[in-house]
Protein backbone atom coordinates (compact mmCIF):
# COMPACT_ATOMS: atom_id res chain seq x y z
CA UNK A 1 0.00 0.00 0.00
CA UNK A 2 1.24 3.47 -0.81
CA UNK A 3 2.26 5.35 2.33
CA UNK A 4 1.84 9.11 2.23
CA UNK A 5 4.68 11.30 3.38
CA UNK A 6 3.46 13.21 6.44
CA UNK A 7 3.21 16.98 6.26
CA UNK A 8 5.55 18.83 8.59
CA UNK A 9 5.00 22.37 7.28
CA UNK A 10 8.02 24.56 7.87
CA UNK A 11 9.63 21.67 9.77
CA UNK A 12 9.80 19.43 6.70
CA UNK A 13 13.51 19.93 6.14
CA UNK A 14 14.55 19.63 9.82
CA UNK A 15 12.42 16.49 10.09
CA UNK A 16 14.19 14.91 7.15
CA UNK A 17 17.59 15.89 8.57
CA UNK A 18 16.67 14.36 11.94
CA UNK A 19 15.51 11.13 10.31
CA UNK A 20 18.77 10.93 8.37
CA UNK A 21 20.76 11.59 11.54
CA UNK A 22 18.96 8.78 13.37
CA UNK A 23 19.39 6.36 10.46
CA UNK A 24 22.74 5.11 11.82
CA UNK A 25 21.52 4.58 15.37
CA UNK A 26 19.80 6.23 18.36
CA UNK A 27 20.91 9.74 19.38
CA UNK A 28 19.86 12.30 21.94
CA UNK A 29 18.87 15.84 21.00
CA UNK A 30 22.26 17.51 21.31
CA UNK A 31 23.97 14.74 19.29
CA UNK A 32 21.37 15.17 16.56
CA UNK A 33 22.05 18.93 16.48
CA UNK A 34 25.79 18.33 16.18
CA UNK A 35 25.29 15.68 13.52
CA UNK A 36 23.04 17.94 11.44
CA UNK A 37 25.40 20.89 11.78
CA UNK A 38 28.35 18.72 10.79
CA UNK A 39 26.48 17.27 7.79
CA UNK A 40 24.92 20.42 6.40
CA UNK A 41 27.25 23.13 7.67
CA UNK A 42 24.22 24.98 9.06
CA UNK A 43 23.17 25.19 12.70
CA UNK A 44 19.88 23.76 13.85
CA UNK A 45 18.29 25.62 16.76
CA UNK A 46 16.93 23.79 19.80
CA UNK A 47 13.45 25.25 19.16
CA UNK A 48 13.39 23.88 15.61
CA UNK A 49 14.83 20.55 16.74
CA UNK A 50 12.16 19.94 19.38
CA UNK A 51 9.28 21.18 17.21
CA UNK A 52 10.33 18.63 14.59
CA UNK A 53 11.02 15.88 17.17
CA UNK A 54 7.51 16.29 18.64
CA UNK A 55 5.94 15.95 15.18
CA UNK A 56 8.04 12.93 14.27
CA UNK A 57 7.14 11.26 17.56
CA UNK A 58 3.43 12.01 17.04
CA UNK A 59 3.62 10.47 13.57
CA UNK A 60 5.26 7.35 14.99
CA UNK A 61 8.36 7.82 12.84
CA UNK A 62 10.70 7.98 15.85
CA UNK A 63 10.41 6.74 19.43
CA UNK A 64 12.01 7.89 22.68
CA UNK A 65 14.25 5.57 24.68
CA UNK A 66 15.02 5.65 28.42
CA UNK A 67 16.83 8.87 29.34
CA UNK A 68 20.49 8.76 30.39
CA UNK A 69 20.87 11.50 33.00
CA UNK A 70 18.60 14.13 31.49
CA UNK A 71 19.46 13.26 27.90
CA UNK A 72 16.80 11.19 26.15
CA UNK A 73 17.88 9.28 23.04
CA UNK A 74 15.53 8.77 20.11
CA UNK A 75 15.56 6.06 17.47
CA UNK A 76 13.89 5.44 14.12
CA UNK A 77 10.86 3.17 14.09
CA UNK A 78 10.30 0.69 11.25
CA UNK A 79 7.70 3.07 9.81
CA UNK A 80 10.16 5.92 10.15
CA UNK A 81 12.88 3.98 8.31
CA UNK A 82 10.59 3.09 5.44
CA UNK A 83 9.28 6.66 5.30
CA UNK A 84 12.82 8.02 5.18
CA UNK A 85 13.75 5.61 2.38
CA UNK A 86 10.72 6.75 0.42
CA UNK A 87 11.54 10.42 0.88
CA UNK A 88 15.17 9.90 -0.13
CA UNK A 89 14.16 7.93 -3.22
CA UNK A 90 11.81 10.78 -4.19
CA UNK A 91 14.56 13.35 -3.69
CA UNK A 92 16.99 11.24 -5.67
CA UNK A 93 14.59 10.95 -8.63
CA UNK A 94 13.97 14.69 -8.45
CA UNK A 95 17.70 15.41 -8.41
CA UNK A 96 18.30 13.09 -11.38
CA UNK A 97 15.51 14.77 -13.35
CA UNK A 98 16.99 18.19 -12.57
CA UNK A 99 20.47 17.10 -13.63
CA UNK A 100 19.10 15.65 -16.88
CA UNK A 101 17.29 18.88 -17.70
CA UNK A 102 20.35 20.92 -16.78
CA UNK A 103 22.44 18.69 -19.06
CA UNK A 104 20.14 19.42 -21.99
CA UNK A 105 20.28 23.19 -21.58
CA UNK A 106 23.96 23.55 -20.56
CA UNK A 107 26.17 25.11 -23.28
Amino acid sequence: MERKIPEFGRFAEPSLLILVSLSDGPKHGYAIMQDVEHGTGRPMGAGTLYAALARLEEQGLIEPLQPVDRRRPYRLTAVGASNLAEQLRGLSEFAQMGLRQLGKTSP
Binding site: G29, M33, G45, A46, G47, L49, A54, P67, D69, R71
Partner: protein
Protein backbone atom coordinates in the same frame (compact mmCIF):
# COMPACT_ATOMS: atom_id res chain seq x y z
CA UNK B 1 17.30 33.42 30.49
CA UNK B 2 17.07 29.63 29.95
CA UNK B 3 14.40 29.35 32.59
CA UNK B 4 12.38 32.16 30.93
CA UNK B 5 12.65 30.53 27.49
CA UNK B 6 11.47 27.16 28.81
CA UNK B 7 8.54 28.81 30.57
CA UNK B 8 7.37 30.16 27.20
CA UNK B 9 6.38 26.59 26.28
CA UNK B 10 3.01 25.20 27.42
CA UNK B 11 2.97 23.19 30.68
CA UNK B 12 2.04 19.94 28.92
CA UNK B 13 5.00 20.32 26.57
CA UNK B 14 7.34 21.11 29.48
CA UNK B 15 6.14 18.00 31.35
CA UNK B 16 7.13 15.85 28.38
CA UNK B 17 10.25 17.56 26.97
CA UNK B 18 11.23 20.08 29.66
CA UNK B 19 14.16 18.17 31.26
CA UNK B 20 15.89 17.09 28.09
CA UNK B 21 15.30 20.50 26.49
CA UNK B 22 16.90 22.25 29.46
CA UNK B 23 19.86 19.85 29.25
CA UNK B 24 20.36 20.83 25.60
CA UNK B 25 20.24 24.55 26.40
CA UNK B 26 22.94 23.99 29.04
CA UNK B 27 25.24 22.33 26.49
CA UNK B 28 26.23 25.56 24.76
CA UNK B 29 25.87 29.35 25.04
CA UNK B 30 22.74 30.89 23.56
CA UNK B 31 23.01 33.50 20.82
CA UNK B 32 20.29 35.72 19.36
CA UNK B 33 19.59 33.09 16.70
CA UNK B 34 19.00 30.47 19.41
CA UNK B 35 16.69 32.75 21.40
CA UNK B 36 14.60 33.63 18.34
CA UNK B 37 14.49 29.97 17.32
CA UNK B 38 13.32 28.89 20.78
CA UNK B 39 10.65 31.63 20.94
CA UNK B 40 9.32 30.50 17.54
CA UNK B 41 9.38 26.90 18.76
CA UNK B 42 7.43 27.93 21.89
CA UNK B 43 4.85 29.74 19.76
CA UNK B 44 4.53 26.68 17.56
CA UNK B 45 4.01 24.43 20.61
CA UNK B 46 1.36 26.79 22.02
CA UNK B 47 -0.53 26.82 18.72
CA UNK B 48 -0.27 23.07 18.23
CA UNK B 49 -1.56 22.25 21.70
CA UNK B 50 -4.52 24.53 21.01
CA UNK B 51 -5.20 22.69 17.79
CA UNK B 52 -4.04 25.43 15.41
CA UNK B 53 -0.99 23.59 14.08
CA UNK B 54 -0.69 23.33 10.32
CA UNK B 55 -0.81 19.54 10.28
CA UNK B 56 -3.99 19.30 12.39
CA UNK B 57 -6.06 21.75 10.38
CA UNK B 58 -7.20 19.35 7.71
CA UNK B 59 -8.45 16.70 10.13
CA UNK B 60 -10.09 19.34 12.34
CA UNK B 61 -12.05 20.97 9.52
CA UNK B 62 -13.00 17.57 8.20
CA UNK B 63 -14.51 16.36 11.50
CA UNK B 64 -16.24 19.72 11.96
CA UNK B 65 -17.81 19.40 8.51
CA UNK B 66 -19.06 15.87 9.30
CA UNK B 67 -20.51 16.97 12.63
CA UNK B 68 -22.30 20.00 11.17
CA UNK B 69 -23.58 17.88 8.25
CA UNK B 70 -24.90 15.18 10.57
CA UNK B 71 -26.68 17.65 12.84
CA UNK B 72 -28.14 19.54 9.86
CA UNK B 73 -29.48 16.29 8.38
CA UNK B 74 -31.23 15.43 11.64
CA UNK B 75 -32.60 18.98 11.97
CA UNK B 76 -33.81 18.94 8.35
CA UNK B 77 -35.58 15.60 8.77
CA UNK B 78 -37.13 16.80 12.06
CA UNK B 79 -38.42 19.94 10.35
CA UNK B 80 -40.06 17.82 7.66
CA UNK B 81 -41.82 15.88 10.41
CA UNK B 82 -43.02 19.26 11.75
CA UNK B 83 -44.21 20.26 8.26
CA UNK B 84 -46.20 17.03 8.01
CA UNK B 85 -47.62 17.58 11.52
CA UNK B 86 -48.56 21.19 10.70
CA UNK B 87 -50.29 20.32 7.46
CA UNK B 88 -51.91 17.25 9.03
CA UNK B 89 -51.55 15.48 5.74
CA UNK B 90 -53.52 18.18 3.89
CA UNK B 91 -52.50 18.87 0.34
CA UNK B 92 -54.52 22.02 -0.06
CA UNK B 93 -54.76 25.36 1.72
CA UNK B 94 -51.81 27.47 2.88
CA UNK B 95 -49.94 28.32 6.07
CA UNK B 96 -47.03 30.70 6.57
CA UNK B 97 -45.52 28.59 9.35
CA UNK B 98 -45.44 25.57 7.05
CA UNK B 99 -43.79 27.57 4.29
CA UNK B 100 -41.07 28.73 6.66
CA UNK B 101 -40.58 25.25 8.18
CA UNK B 102 -40.36 23.73 4.70
CA UNK B 103 -37.82 26.31 3.58
CA UNK B 104 -35.71 25.75 6.71
CA UNK B 105 -35.90 21.98 6.33
CA UNK B 106 -34.64 22.07 2.75
CA UNK B 107 -31.89 24.53 3.70
CA UNK B 108 -30.87 22.21 6.55
CA UNK B 109 -30.84 19.19 4.23
CA UNK B 110 -28.69 21.19 1.83
CA UNK B 111 -26.20 21.92 4.63
CA UNK B 112 -26.36 18.26 5.71
CA UNK B 113 -25.72 17.07 2.19
CA UNK B 114 -22.77 19.44 1.82
CA UNK B 115 -21.23 18.56 5.18
CA UNK B 116 -21.51 14.81 4.71
CA UNK B 117 -20.32 14.69 1.10
CA UNK B 118 -16.54 14.69 1.67
CA UNK B 119 -16.18 10.96 0.93
CA UNK B 120 -18.73 10.71 -1.86
CA UNK B 121 -17.43 13.79 -3.68
CA UNK B 122 -14.16 11.96 -4.36
CA UNK B 123 -15.71 8.90 -5.98
CA UNK B 124 -19.00 10.27 -7.35
CA UNK B 125 -18.55 14.01 -7.88
CA UNK B 126 -21.29 14.33 -10.52
CA UNK B 127 -23.92 12.60 -8.40
CA UNK B 128 -23.05 14.74 -5.39
CA UNK B 129 -23.15 17.93 -7.44
CA UNK B 130 -26.48 16.86 -8.98
CA UNK B 131 -27.90 16.19 -5.50
CA UNK B 132 -26.65 19.57 -4.31
CA UNK B 133 -27.92 21.47 -7.38
CA UNK B 134 -31.40 19.91 -7.33
CA UNK B 135 -31.85 20.54 -3.61
CA UNK B 136 -30.47 24.07 -3.99
CA UNK B 137 -32.84 24.81 -6.89
CA UNK B 138 -35.74 23.55 -4.76
CA UNK B 139 -34.68 25.68 -1.82
CA UNK B 140 -34.50 28.80 -3.98
CA UNK B 141 -37.84 27.96 -5.66
CA UNK B 142 -39.50 27.50 -2.29
CA UNK B 143 -37.95 30.75 -1.08
CA UNK B 144 -39.43 32.62 -4.05
CA UNK B 145 -42.79 30.79 -3.80
CA UNK B 146 -42.78 31.30 -0.04
CA UNK B 147 -42.21 35.04 -0.42
CA UNK B 148 -45.13 35.21 -2.83
CA UNK B 149 -47.22 33.20 -0.42
CA UNK B 150 -46.31 35.35 2.59
CA UNK B 151 -47.01 38.62 0.75
CA UNK B 152 -50.24 37.32 -0.73
CA UNK B 153 -48.94 37.59 -4.29
CA UNK B 154 -48.60 33.86 -4.81
CA UNK B 155 -51.16 31.05 -5.04
CA UNK B 156 -53.12 30.39 -1.87
CA UNK B 157 -53.15 26.66 -2.37
CA UNK B 158 -50.46 24.07 -1.49
CA UNK B 159 -51.06 22.18 -4.70
CA UNK B 160 -49.84 25.22 -6.67
CA UNK B 161 -47.45 26.47 -4.02
CA UNK B 162 -44.13 25.43 -2.50
CA UNK B 163 -45.11 22.00 -1.19
CA UNK B 164 -44.89 20.04 -4.45
CA UNK B 165 -41.73 21.89 -5.49
CA UNK B 166 -40.11 21.12 -2.13
CA UNK B 167 -41.26 17.51 -2.16
CA UNK B 168 -39.97 16.80 -5.66
CA UNK B 169 -36.59 18.52 -5.25
CA UNK B 170 -35.96 17.07 -1.80
CA UNK B 171 -36.85 13.61 -3.10
CA UNK B 172 -34.69 13.82 -6.23
CA UNK B 173 -31.74 15.47 -4.48
CA UNK B 174 -31.87 13.00 -1.61
CA UNK B 175 -32.10 10.01 -3.94
CA UNK B 176 -29.01 11.17 -5.86
CA UNK B 177 -27.15 11.72 -2.60
CA UNK B 178 -28.31 8.29 -1.38
CA UNK B 179 -26.89 6.57 -4.47
CA UNK B 180 -23.56 8.39 -4.09
CA UNK B 181 -23.41 7.52 -0.39
CA UNK B 182 -24.31 3.87 -1.00
CA UNK B 183 -21.50 3.59 -3.54
CA UNK B 184 -19.06 5.28 -1.19
CA UNK B 185 -19.93 2.84 1.64
CA UNK B 186 -18.27 4.95 4.34
CA UNK B 187 -21.44 6.32 5.94
CA UNK B 188 -24.39 4.00 6.71
CA UNK B 189 -25.42 2.02 3.60
CA UNK B 190 -28.80 1.26 5.19
CA UNK B 191 -29.40 4.98 5.56
CA UNK B 192 -28.33 5.56 1.96
CA UNK B 193 -30.64 2.80 0.73
CA UNK B 194 -33.56 4.29 2.68
CA UNK B 195 -32.84 7.61 1.04
CA UNK B 196 -33.07 6.02 -2.42
CA UNK B 197 -36.04 3.74 -1.70
CA UNK B 198 -38.12 6.45 0.01
CA UNK B 199 -38.51 8.79 -2.99
CA UNK B 200 -38.98 5.86 -5.40
CA UNK B 201 -41.79 4.33 -3.31
CA UNK B 202 -43.30 7.80 -2.74
CA UNK B 203 -43.33 8.44 -6.50
CA UNK B 204 -45.08 5.12 -7.18
CA UNK B 205 -47.58 6.03 -4.44
CA UNK B 206 -48.26 9.44 -6.00
CA UNK B 207 -48.85 7.80 -9.39
CA UNK B 208 -51.22 5.31 -7.77
CA UNK B 209 -53.17 8.16 -6.13
CA UNK B 210 -53.44 9.96 -9.47
CA UNK B 211 -54.88 6.74 -10.94
CA UNK B 212 -57.60 6.76 -8.23
CA UNK B 213 -55.95 3.92 -6.27
CA UNK B 214 -56.25 6.10 -3.17
CA UNK B 215 -55.63 3.62 -0.33
CA UNK B 216 -52.73 1.81 -1.92
CA UNK B 217 -51.25 5.09 -3.14
CA UNK B 218 -51.41 6.82 0.26
CA UNK B 219 -49.93 3.74 1.94
CA UNK B 220 -46.98 3.86 -0.46
CA UNK B 221 -46.59 7.63 0.01
CA UNK B 222 -46.46 7.19 3.80
CA UNK B 223 -43.95 4.33 3.49
CA UNK B 224 -41.87 6.50 1.15
CA UNK B 225 -41.88 9.47 3.55
CA UNK B 226 -40.95 7.27 6.54
CA UNK B 227 -38.12 5.67 4.55
CA UNK B 228 -36.92 9.10 3.37
CA UNK B 229 -36.87 10.51 6.91
CA UNK B 230 -35.27 7.35 8.34
CA UNK B 231 -32.53 7.67 5.72
CA UNK B 232 -31.63 11.24 6.68
CA UNK B 233 -31.79 10.46 10.42
CA UNK B 234 -29.59 7.37 9.99
CA UNK B 235 -27.02 9.18 7.85
CA UNK B 236 -26.97 12.12 10.29
CA UNK B 237 -26.32 9.85 13.26
CA UNK B 238 -23.70 7.90 11.28
CA UNK B 239 -21.85 11.11 10.41
CA UNK B 240 -21.80 12.29 14.02
CA UNK B 241 -20.61 8.88 15.22
CA UNK B 242 -17.94 8.73 12.52
CA UNK B 243 -16.75 12.16 13.61
CA UNK B 244 -16.25 10.79 17.13
CA UNK B 245 -14.10 7.85 16.11
CA UNK B 246 -10.39 8.23 16.76
CA UNK B 247 -9.49 7.41 13.16
CA UNK B 248 -10.33 10.95 12.06
CA UNK B 249 -8.99 12.82 15.08
CA UNK B 250 -5.82 14.83 14.80
CA UNK B 251 -2.75 12.89 15.91
Amino acid sequence: MRSFLIRCYPARWRARYGDEFEAILEERPLGPFDVADILLGALDAQLRLRGHGVDTQHARSFTMSLRIGGIAAIVGASLIVIVIALTGGRTEGSDNAVTIALLLSLAALLVGLTGMSAFQARSNPWLVWTAFAVTAVGTVAIFIAGLGDLTGAGPRDWRDGPLPIGAVTAALGSAAFGIATYRGSVLSRKGALSLVIGPAVGLVGAIAVSQNLWELGMLLVVVGIVSFLAGWFTLGVAAIRLDRTSAFKPA
